[in-house]
Symmetry: none
Subunit: 205 residues, 2 copies
DNA sequence: GGAAGCATTGTACTTCGGTACAATAGTTAA
DNA sequence: TTAACTATTGTACCGAAGTACAATGCTTCC
């Protein structure tokens, strides 16, 4: 199954041709039938609504995976495109080998992103993890009572005892009791370390 | 360059052989030289420290991309593996075509993840990100002097003023000066919120 | 019925963190 | 050469955090 490459004027680049000799050229206005995946070159300029662009192309593509090509790629834009349902986002001037690789990935129902963006995704997500070690739900929760867990979350967000007291409708003294119990159970002595544990940056002891 | 497939007993599966007829088999204890990428089958059971496993394998692999295979893959574990430096994480029973695809991606310095995990990464990123600034160097660094940055990192890890003083070879009073300056510059009033900023969980004001 | 765990609150104390009001000295830029 | 910024340290104070030693009322389990 050949790939379809879409641009404003159906112009085809050498690198594309080299990666896919039997490609189908088309314009952004319409997707030729019987081609997968669909590649679309993003129009230049800062005033392009990528979300709409991708959404429109996907409608035309009818379920076939869509890869957006950008001559001036940006990671934020990549996120936008992928969030809008694109299966890939890469440099319009990428080498043929890279294009082939992307085609393989998205052709098999996968998603392709560059390494830089992947790093960023990982960095953003790994923070919310149950921390290294335990593969399951947050380990700290299991050791705390419900009330303590509520307080723990607030502490981890930077709330003071007084604030927590107000939000939990209890006395500041009781907050201290909860916090003290949590610290004891988790083997730490101050709320900052507790915060690190709750935020998945440190493993509970 | 052939791929190396590692398991506990150097056993090779048909799907692997089909994808890479010239693969090199080995045990988790040692990585054969001259093979890239390195595939490692995760030992079964819930008590495996994936972070350590990946770290150890990477040391043995010496720079070659590592793909962790899991017979009961989980997205949390995938994140853990990738965060620990693996280049890919996929089902140990994946079809040969998928394995080839993964090999292509990681062989070219890329990272491979399944579609489900990608969705989750995207969801997590589009929500809880410190917004557009995340792609760059941390915004908080730019506002702080070098010495303040050093102290900031230690504070974010949960060190006390006394500890920081010792590790920076200065007086506790000077630490207070640095911390005070940082809080002022970042618009907060306590070290826990500073920690949230430095750890990327909250945007500086 | 008692033991155990949890939620709640009180008083009192110590320690740590953060700030106010300083000073000295080195480096850089106008 | 000033002015501005930085790094360093001092004394002093206040408030928040954490701990010690309690008590009361509720539920659950043996």
């Amino acid at each position: 199954m050949p790939s379809a490459f879409l641009s404003f004027d159906a112009r085809v680049r050498g690198t594309w041709k080299k990666a896919f000799p039997d490609l189908i050229a088309g314009t952004l206005a319409q997707v030729p039938p019987a081609a997968t995946p669909v590649w679309a070159l993003r129009p230049a300029g800062p005033d392009v609504d990528v979300t709409n662009l991708v959404a429109g192309l996907r409608r035309q593509a009818g379920g076939r995976p869509l890869v957006l090509l950008a001559d001036e790629p940006g990671e934020d834009e990549a996120l936008t495109a992928l969030a809008a349902g694109a299966s890939g986002y890469c440099n319009g001037h990428a080498a043929p080998a890279v294009l082939e690789q992307v085609a393989l990935a998205v052709g098999n129902g996968g998603v392709w992103v560059g390494q830089g963006l992947m790093q960023r995704l990982l960095a953003a997500t790994s923070r919310g993890l149950p921390a290294p070690g335990a593969g399951k739900a947050a380990a700290w929760r299991e050791r705390l009572t419900e009330r303590e867990q509520e307080a723990a979350v607030l502490v981890a967000q930077g709330a003071s005892n007084k604030e927590i007291a107000r939000r939990m409708s209890i006395t500041e003294r009781t907050v201290k009791a909860h916090v003290g119990a949590m610290l004891e159970k988790l083997g730490v002595h101050d709320r900052l370390r507790l915060s690190l544990i709750v935020n998945g940056l440190e493993a509970p002891r």
